[in-house]
Symmetry: C2
Subunit: 240 residues, 2 copies
DNA sequence: TCTTTTAATATGTATAGACATAATAGAAGA
DNA sequence: TCTTCTATTATGTCTATACATATTAAAAGA
């Protein structure tokens, strides 16, 4: 079971050995992994060292520990994946494209209706921004964004000529919680004209709401023509 | 800084106290958190107890630890989210719908072309399945799936009349790695007819490739009309 | 035979001490 | 002044020990 990698600490080696066996299918759900005492002997170390490795696996959800019984490979959670939804500017520039943002509309006003009320509070003030993201000069996607002025008052003095609002917010609101929804729509007349596609062209729409410390910050709708953008999810564990 | 919750262990309390301060914005990126010695005194416990809490935060990526300098709040990684991509049957039944799968096509053959070759190996055998997912009797989505017979030989004796292949695989292939891609397409003639929508209707397409222990298992394309399905991503950390 | 009690067991958490290692501030030297 | 060395500092890892707690197997009793 032991490995021959010398740069790792003992507890990391134990953790990785077991993790690899679980992820490779060598250990299946409900299989028991060796007891702490047994691992102590296998790796010739103390129980605290074993415990650190095995506790880490438990906290990551790969195993379940039961007193008096031992540690067992967990049943993987239902399928989920980590989806990368990067800032558009960063993403494009990383891929070697030039990026541009063209502001179409900017207005400061009071919140109307339930959707805007949820963001800024009933009668609260918000800023609405609409613009086009460009990659190498070509229209890449459309963005409509509402930002609560209560949450980000300094945004009122920013004109966003050239700077995309997403990038600006990244620099002004540290850490946050977000909720995403991804669906397919046909481009409406207005958006189609700006993106230089025909009405009804299948587009990916990403809706995102962001909170900072429980306070709503922004609500965005980004529209990308189906042939210009997709979202890619990395590895994941699986199964109910 | 201390909390008054008695059911938690000391190290959990330390971890949660700090975690809350980071996520709430009370501690910002590059801020230093108290040294281990200081936390020992604040929580009246030993260094190992503090170390367990703080190491856990480091392993979760919330803080960065530097010898001789201290521990600092990390810069959140670029925007990513955990997207829930559940088994369709489980998802619909959980939401109170009846679920049905209608098999349209089933064939066993050898792999042709680079895409199929990547799955089953050049000249390797695979099974191709096409079918319709139904919610409350109505067409909900179309699925085309290739499965490597080398990876899952027992699938050859399964006829999938009624059982969706995804659910069947869930029960036969434990743990796995997957790669997802989500994009928007217009429904083609064949799929449109089966889904009872018009050609070109915007659809969400989910492409998924799955491996077990590095061996390719299955490659799926699922097509959902834009008005019938979306993907929802939960909370996340943020920022480059 | 069935129920209750007891003892054994594996994990959960915590301690104090030890030595290693990386990074730096400051001292010593050129 | 600039470079080099050294001591200090905070974290990284590990050990041996201790007691708590949940669970279960076995013993004791009805």
């Amino acid at each position: 079971m032991a490995d021959s990698n010398d740069t790792l600490s003992v507890s990391e080696r134990i953790r990785l050995d077991i993790e690899r066996q679980i992820l490779s299918g060598g250990l299946k759900p409900d299989d028991r992994i060796p007891l702490e005492r047994e691992l102590m002997e296998i790796y010739d170390c103390s129980r605290m060292t074993v415990n650190k490795a095995v506790s880490e696996l438990a906290s990551r959800g790969l195993i379940v520990r039961r007193k008096r019984a031992g540690s067992f490979v967990a049943h993987p959670p239902s399928d989920s994946t980590i989806l990368d939804i990067p800032d558009i500017r960063l993403d494009l520039e990383r891929k070697g494209h030039t990026y541009g943002y063209e502001l179409l509309h900017r207005s400061v006003r009071t919140a109307k209706g339930p959707e805007e009320g949820a963001l800024a509070g009933k009668g609260g003030r918000l800023i609405e921004l609409r613009g086009i993201h460009r990659a190498d000069g070509q229209p890449f996607g459309h963005e409509r964004r509402l930002v609560s002025l209560a949450a980000v008052p300094e945004i009122e003095h920013e004109d966003f000529a050239g700077t995309p609002p997403g990038t600006w917010l990244l620099g002004h609101v540290p850490w946050s919680q977000a909720e995403h929804r991804i669906f397919a729509v046909g481009a409406d007349v207005g958006i189609a004209a700006h993106l230089e596609i025909s009405e009804g062209t299948p587009c990916l729409m990403l809706e995102r709401r962001t909170w900072l410390n429980g306070v709503p910050v922004t609500h965005v709708w980004q529209t990308f023509p189906g042939d210009r953008h997709s979202f890619i999810g990395a590895l994941t564990r699986r199964q109910a």
